[in-house]
Symmetry: C2
Subunit: 126 residues, 2 copies
DNA sequence: TAAGTAATGCAACCAAATTGCAATAATTTT
DNA sequence: AAAATTATTGCAATTTGGTTGCATTACTTA
């Protein structure tokens, strides 16, 4: 699985993630590329890119799936794996924050995955 | 707003939250009470209970809205406001963990809300 | 117990996401 | 470089979680 061919739609979406490091929702991408490709294609490309660990996804407070480019600094070692995602209430721009959240150890619980979502006002909207 | 009458549907749902402290998804409740009430009613009761701060909600990793009873110990003071939610991969049971996550302060960012989602294996599924 | 109004059920609707399938376009093989 | 292979796409239809409008029902209170 997850062999990715360099089709035009794939290149368009990849370029999008390379240009800006923001976390983009699937619907934003569908809207942006509606003349270039079908929404099904957008969803499937995102799935494949996630499989290939080129991007990662999370669900935001509104239940929308968002995707962001995988960042080596953030994802390479275990320490930095648990980084928070931030969503600005004002401009709606979402981003990965380059800080580590320490996971508390809870007796008898095995934590495999953690997702931290912050909502507030970003530096450009003060 | 948010005056809550003790109708039969409301009592059923309240009993559900009083019995078990788990975080229940709206669809679980709809399924469970499908012979007792309409799904619209479930959604509207949940909204009202949340308004009245009897329960609180969050979106889980699958994008499902989940609700749990508000816990005074967890919600009374600001320190304990940011408690994580845990979802067991195995049994699917979700719960509020009574621990505090410290929010890192990020320069130029104002964090208003935080949501922490852990996925893993719970104590009953080891 | 009658009036006022909150709450419910039903049907229709909506948006995000998924699926099946035939057509198309990257690759790979020759 | 053409043919064969198979990943990828577009389109239409479907699914799912959730919402809305409205007439009817049932709490509450006076």
């Amino acid at each position: 699985m997850s062999i990715i061919r360099k089709t035009k739609p794939v290149q368009l979406i990849l370029k999008q993630f390379n240009n800006k490091g923001d976390a983009i929702s699937a619907i934003e991408l569908i809207e942006k590329f509606k003349k270039n490709m079908d929404k099904t294609t957008v969803y499937r490309i995102l799935d494949r890119l996630e499989d290939a660990e080129i991007i990662h996804s999370f669900i935001d407070q509104d239940g929308l799936k968002r995707y962001a480019k995988d960042n080596k600094k953030i994802h390479s070692n275990n320490d930095l794996k648990h980084h928070p995602h931030f969503l600005c209430e004002d401009c709606g721009i979402s981003s990965c924050l380059p800080v580590t959240i320490s996971i508390p150890s809870i007796p008898d619980y095995t934590i495999k995955r953690a997702e931290h979502l912050f909502t507030g006002i970003c530096k450009d909207c003060v």
